[in-house]
């Protein structure tokens, strides 16, 4: 499958911004199942400085600085990717028991170093007994790891309501767990918190998903959004991606941009501005299948 993604971000400021520094995670990674064909980034006003690097997690970072006074900042990222099918369905029932996976991570840590950064609580995603017992609903004794992870994906989907009004990026996990509402980011963090509370390794994946318009209606431009899901580490099969917001294994509808320990490692755009006063943000995302 080939997709084109357009992601436009516009900030409006009450007063003039004299200096703006931005850090972007917008360019898609290359993975075993994904190839980035093209990527362009456009900014208004023109950046005075622009640089790129790969971060610790292997994500593409774009840095830029604007020094011309401005009252609005527009960033447009546009790219095309090819996505291959993932051979993951068989792995679910044949994966090792989750207790064995947990023991391997603890006792053979050196062998599983790639998973090591993703086992522990972060400032944003704390571990707790409440999260562990939430996970144990699906992680029953000796259940295969990936089967249990799929069950947890379904459990979150069934128990939680998608509600963009219920939370924002600063809502703590405890509140999401109690309120049973949130958006993809909350559900991904919830699943990560639950898995790590059991001593398992998992990472936060940010990207996009193809949405299907109701039958007979055209695809709307800008109606899509950034998306987030969870990748679980299996000592035998490696990383396997689950989407608790859509109750599915990640297949060809998901476009991966970046991954990290939680949202704060991969937020699409974070920045620091001098001046500006109050600010309003508008984001438009359009995912278009090209084949």
């Amino acid at each position: 499958m080939r997709y084109q993604v357009e992601h436009q971000t516009v900030y409006h400021y009450d007063t003039s911004v004299t200096q703006s520094q931005q850090l972007l995670h917008m360019m898609p990674r290359q993975t075993d199942f994904q190839h980035c064909v093209s990527y362009t980034l456009a900014c208004e006003p023109q950046p005075a400085e622009h640089s790129q690097r790969l971060d610790f997690f292997g994500n593409h970072n774009d840095y830029f600085t604007m020094l011309t006074p401005h009252q609005s900042l527009a960033v447009l990222s546009r790219f095309q990717v090819d996505i291959q099918p993932r051979p993951t369905m068989v792995a679910l029932t044949q994966s090792p028991a989750w207790e064995a996976a947990q023991a391997a991570l603890q006792l053979q840590a050196t062998k599983h170093l790639t998973a090591a950064p993703f086992i522990y609580a972060t400032a944003k995603v704390k571990c707790s007994e409440a999260l562990a017992s939430f996970a144990r609903h699906c992680f029953t004794p000796q259940r295969p790891l990936l089967e249990a992870a799929m069950a947890l994906t379904q459990h979150i989907y069934a128990e939680f309501e998608f509600d963009p009004q219920a939370t924002d990026i600063s809502t703590p996990l405890d509140e999401v767990l109690k309120g049973r509402r949130g958006v993809c980011q909350d559900f991904a963090h919830l699943m990560i918190g639950a898995l790590r509370s059991l001593g398992l390794a998992c990472r936060y994946v940010s990207g996009y998903i193809l949405t299907h318009p109701p039958a007979g209606q055209p695809r709307l431009v800008g109606a899509d959004a950034s998306h987030a899901w969870v990748s679980v580490y299996c000592p035998v099969y490696g990383w396997v991606d689950f989407d608790p917001t859509n109750n599915c294994l990640v297949q060809q509808d998901h476009i991966t941009v970046a991954w990290g320990r939680d949202f704060s490692d991969v937020s699409p755009m974070r920045g620091v501005v001098l001046g500006g006063g109050q600010q309003q943000l508008a984001v438009n995302v359009t995912v278009t299948p090209l084949e």
Partner: protein, 846 residues
């Protein structure tokens, strides 16, 4: 003080002073001989001198939880901890080795991670520690130094051996306090200090400065090579090193400002710096200056809101990227907090052999990391002998002593350990050594002994680590002698390392070889510092004027009966209202019908205006001045600072049942101090750019007051008493010398407005202001900032005294109003042109 030893409490711990037979150890004998030979009164004098110096120098330690204000005096025992030379050589070599080792660990973890792939370090110790900063992976370091500054807490076990208790790698605090302790204690025992050959501390700080300059030059070369528009440093031009502080509310701000002054580095906050072109710049009045090295006292995850904690308002956006490009040396490197972990201790002996090829010289207190199943089992089985501590700084938990717990508490602790074993370490409980301490107050002092721990400091040089020959000794003063920290309220001690060699006097001042090396202007004045100086100038004058106004009002109340007072009485009260010394009418209506207070009502209000900490009276105003001076600590001399300190203490205690006489006497004392401050400002400070901002503040404040004062005065009835006008403007003596009569309108107004030789006149203040502003227009592109005030000045010179210097004159009233408006505008324009750089950053995330 005879037979001091008999007063000592003996214990089964190692005693620093006494050997097992109860005899004084040889290295203490000189001090003991001195104590035994002198009268108790002499000792008391020494103690008092120490306390006075701590107070007067304003040595403080801020405690976050302290509800009695942020300032707490530093607690310093008069007796030092003495360490003989051979013992020190072992300590020093061990600390240098440990710093070398930890630097290797830091480089490896943020570099090749050989320690992880080879299984020498469990990954949990890195990735489970919130101090691990992924954005720091791969940052290059000049001379492979990431840990520039290191401190370690040591304690001595009963067998006499020193042990490492914990490592400090984030922003090792206390070296500045150690230096201040030395200054104070060496002047309490000048003879002993001379005779004993005690190792000097200044050499350590000199090598610290040399090292930072060395790396600063490397950075400057890199900038000149890679950044367009940046030239190489000139011959003899020093690199710019700054100390990055979280600000005055940080617990060790006093130390930071002291070190900044001592090392000659600007003390800057995050908002003083900005990153452009991958370079860190200091925002100065003269524009942006490239920074080469940063001695940071901000926790690393708060240092860069762009890449690290986005909620931090303390840091500098883009700092990580600047470090990545080799355009700044940050001491310590971002990510060094990772080493501040008890969990690491047990792995160091093995890593030391593998990395350095030698055994670890000084052992750590036996430590088990519960993240290893075997260690957890051991800890649970031996809980009674162990102290449970957090493995990582992000785990909030006080040390728990197993022996203190009852069976059910023990159960819940074990459950906690099993739930998150990797969050905890257990340490053997060491009975740490006791050092002699002088206990009690005044007549009641006696020798006691308390548990002591020693913090030792190391700083990297291109040739290995230099170790401070001394350190910060601390004794527990709280109930729990097993835990020694300053935050819990401990007492500090100077640390004397004895030497066989005589110590040459050493000064931090460098040798200046030729006139080219002379520096005639401080190179860097940050925008924030300029703003602080400006406001310090304004507050100093405002305080003096408030005091003068209060004094005149109280005197009029005390000396005259109501019948003797005239139209001036209402005006004096309304001026007190203008200064917020008396409550003002709430709205226009109340203002129109406002009548002066009766004497009985006024008396308690005036007393309140002097002493109250709540209202905006003199006491509050003095505290504001103190705060402003505190923000400038490294810019003002010790003598100057002492005056501010004494002034602030004058008003710090709550005065119950104070009388008008008490109020007057306090005002008189305060005025004396204010005048001393004026003397420092006028005659003791170098007249550089910073001084000019302070002077602008002083003159603007003064001019505003004169405008308000005079416009209200000329609205008084014709026959009002004018003596108070001369009093509050400090013109009474001059007037009496010139006119042997009661004050009359024309000569009074002439003296206050037009006398160009009188510093207490409007024209004198204006002339100076216009001169400074014109200099700024010429040198600093201030944009015609002088013109409006210049117009006012010229208009004043055109006024005809015979015509205009009369009561109720409309021309004069209009001129006063206009000039007042111009001074307000002037203050805004200065802020916009020179201080606006310092405005705070806003972060956002999507």
């Amino acid at each position: 003080m005879p037979s001091v030893l008999n007063q000592l409490y003996f214990s089964d711990r190692y005693n620093e002073l006494l050997d097992s037979a109860g005899q004084a150890r040889p290295h203490w004998q000189a001090l003991l001989a001195q104590l035994e030979s002198e009268a108790p009164a002499t000792m008391r004098k020494r103690v008092e001198a120490v306390q006075r110096q701590v107070r007067d120098n304003g040595v403080t330690y801020n405690v976050y939880a302290d509800t009695h204000g942020v300032q707490r005096p530093w607690d310093l025992d008069v007796l030092p901890l003495i360490i003989p030379q051979d013992e020190w050589q072992h300590i020093s070599a061990s600390v240098a080795q440990r710093a070398t080792l930890l630097n290797h660990v830091l480089l490896d973890v943020y570099g090749e991670q050989h320690l992880l792939t080879s299984g020498q370090l469990p990954p949990a110790l890195i990735y489970g520690h919130n101090g691990f900063l992924p954005s720091s992976v791969g940052i290059p370091h000049y001379d492979n130094i990431a840990l520039h500054h290191y401190a370690v807490d040591l304690a001595r076990a009963p067998n006499g051996q020193w042990w490492v208790v914990s490592d400090r790698t984030q922003g090792p605090t206390g070296a500045g306090y150690a230096l201040e302790n030395r200054t104070i204690i060496s002047s309490a025992f000048p003879e002993l200090f001379r005779d004993l050959n005690i190792e000097r501390l200044s050499g350590f700080f000199a090598s610290m400065r040399d090292s930072l300059a060395h790396w600063g030059h490397r950075v400057a070369d890199n900038q000149a090579r890679t950044v367009p528009g940046i030239a190489a440093l000139g011959q003899g031009e020093p690199p710019l090193v700054v100390i990055l502080t979280p600000g005055p509310y940080n617990e060790t701000y006093h130390e930071q400002s002291f070190l900044a002054g001592y090392l000659g580095y600007p003390l800057v906050q995050g908002s003083d710096l900005t990153v452009r072109q991958g370079v860190v710049w200091l925002k100065t009045i003269a524009g942006l200056k490239p920074v080469h090295a940063i001695l940071r006292r901000i926790d690393d995850d708060y240092c860069d809101p762009l890449e690290l904690n986005a909620e931090s308002l303390l840091g500098v956006a883009g700092l990580t990227q600047a470090a990545r490009l080799g355009n700044v040396v940050i001491a310590n490197a971002l990510g060094a907090n990772l080493l501040q972990s008890g969990a690491l201790l047990g792995f160091l002996p093995h890593i030391c052999k593998s990395l350095l090829g030698e055994p670890l010289r000084m052992p750590s207190v036996a430590t088990w990391w519960c993240g290893e199943p075997a260690a957890l089992d051991y800890v649970i089985a031996h809980l009674d002998d162990l102290v449970i501590k957090p493995a990582y700084p992000q785990v909030r938990s006080s040390p728990i002593f197993g022996e203190d717990l009852n069976p059910s508490q023990k159960e819940s602790l074990i459950a906690k350990l099993r739930a998150q074993p990797d969050h905890y370490i257990a340490q053997e409980q060491v009975d740490i050594s006791h050092a002699p301490v002088l206990i009690g107050h005044q007549q009641q002092t006696h020798l006691g002994s308390l548990a002591v721990s020693l913090r030792v400091y190391a700083f990297a040089t291109p040739n290995g680590y230099a170790v401070l020959p001394g350190g910060l000794s601390r004794v527990a003063s709280g109930k729990d002698a097993r835990v020694v920290t300053m935050q819990r309220g401990g007492t500090s001690k100077d640390t004397w390392v004895l030497s066989h060699d005589s110590q040459p006097p050493f000064s931090l001042l460098r040798k200046t070889n030729s006139s080219q090396d002379l520096v005639r202007e401080n190179a860097y004045l940050s925008s924030r510092m300029a703003e602080n100086l400006f406001w310090y100038g304004r507050y100093s004058v405002r305080n003096l004027q408030k005091a003068m106004m209060l004094r005149a009002t109280i005197r009029a109340l005390v000396e005259y009966t109501p019948e003797m007072r005239d139209g001036e009485w209402k005006t004096m009260q309304s001026l007190c209202q203008w200064f917020d010394l008396l409550p003002s009418p709430e709205d226009e209506e109340a203002l129109a019908s406002w009548q002066p207070w009766t004497d009985d009502d006024l008396e308690p209000l005036l007393i309140e205006a002097v002493f109250s900490q709540q209202s905006s009276g003199l006491a509050t105003s003095v505290q504001q001045l103190f705060q402003q001076a505190f923000n400038l600590r490294e810019r003002i001399s010790n003598d100057h600072w002492r005056t501010v300190n004494v002034l602030s203490r004058l008003f710090i205690t709550r005065h119950q049942h104070a009388s008008l006489q008490d109020a007057l006497s306090h005002i008189e004392q305060a005025i004396n101090h204010f005048v001393t401050l004026t003397g420092f400002a006028m005659d003791w400070m170098t007249r550089d750019l910073g001084w000019r901002f302070m002077s602008l503040g002083r003159r603007i404040e003064r001019l505003q007051f004169m405008c308000v004062l005079l416009s209200r005065a000329i609205a008084m009835p014709q026959h009002s008493n004018l003596e108070w006008l001369l009093q509050v403007t400090n013109n009474l003596v001059t007037y009496r010398a010139r006119y042997a009569s009661q004050p009359e309108w024309l000569p009074v107004l002439d003296l206050l407005l037009m006398d160009a030789n009188n510093p207490n006149s409007v024209v004198f203040q204006m002339k100076g202001l216009v001169k400074y502003l014109e200099e700024m227009d010429a040198q600093d592109n201030a944009g015609g900032i002088a013109s409006e005030l210049n117009d006012c000045w010229q208009a004043l010179l055109q006024l005809d005294p015979d015509q205009c210097f009369t009561v109720g004159n409309a021309t004069l009233a209009a001129w006063l109003n206009q000039t007042y408006a111009v001074t307000l505008n002037l203050s805004d324009r200065l802020s916009l042109r020179f201080f606006s750089y310092a405005s705070p950053l806003v972060t956002h995330r999507q």
